[in-house]
Symmetry: C3
């Protein structure tokens, strides 16, 4: 069994934004030499996500508005007890649960085995600082 | 390490519906000959899900109503910018995030290692066209 | 390829609660002898979750309140058809979808490859009975 682990670092200036990282994950898969296997790609921070969806600007705006409706940013301690710790990011911990921590993608014939529109995104919900994403390929 | 990759195609006539695909996934596991490993099962389309829950008709109706409340269908461009692309399915991209893209299931002694009620479902949120699900087994 | 499968049992007295199970998963990884691989950790029951987030008491209270808002407990059959089966836990099937069934974590140099705050939790949404969590490690 072969394996390769790499760590990608992203520094998103906005509080909430989505970045297409498909090519960077594909590059790790190529470098691994794995022909048949799985690749795990996960946020290493708990106010961020890795997810698969469409690379369409309007949809990303829709996601932001929708997530803000489901779990509004509120720095006060009235809505969120977590903010009593001195943080203001309780909402980000909720947004990340809706969008997910990780994806597992099939590697087939040495490539990400994707449907026609699948793209991998890093989702940031409490930005303006560097955060890491883990990519691990296993297989043969 | 052994591996087997298969693609299942589903054509759901309704806009939103859930289909039990456990047996089809179990058949791929059997065919793979893997005794100990993992099976990845994911929607290859970004307005569909694969998830694990209960095969109970009332619960599925509850899911539909609940998801419609969280992310209502609205073909207009007033609520969803994504629909400016000519699509009417922005809601489906949100419903899919709540229900998830994929499941990873343990294969133990050659079988899906499930609790008493776990069943695998294909979740369709923008139906009436054929879509694919990837099943990949790895292990020994 | 090595593999090890273990089953953890939890009996949470509350209806909804979160329990940190990181050490128990780390112990299974150690016992497996796997240096490079993946570990799958999933709830075997469909009204429970395994997820990764912060071990902060205030945040857990926030999660409970937030999930109760998204999918309120209601034992009647007016809101949830599932409760016509004699169950009262339809809400728990929804809360579990938001928080997720499973996590897949990288094993690197024999350890859980985690960011600074990542911790694994068992999430119970219909407690007061024993339930199982599956931990499966594969790799070399």
């Amino acid at each position: 069994m072969k394996s390769l682990t790499e760590y990608l670092t992203f520094h998103i200036p906005q509080r909430m934004a989505f970045k297409n990282i498909t090519q960077q994950v594909a590059d790790v898969v190529s470098k691994s030499g794995v022909q048949e296997g799985l690749v795990l790609c996960n946020a290493m921070h708990i106010t961020a996500s890795v997810f698969i969806n469409d690379d369409e600007r309007g949809l990303h705006e829709d996601y932001k508005k929708w997530l803000e409706g489901l779990a509004p940013f509120d720095a006060s301690t009235a809505r969120y007890q977590h903010n009593r710790t001195g943080e203001d990011n309780a909402d980000a911990h909720m947004k990340r649960q809706v969008m997910g921590r990780e994806v597992v993608v099939a590697v087939t014939k040495g490539k990400l085995d994707f449907g026609p529109w699948e793209q991998i995104f890093y989702g940031e919900f409490d930005g303006n600082r560097p955060k890491r994403v883990l990519v691990k390929v296993i297989g043969e």
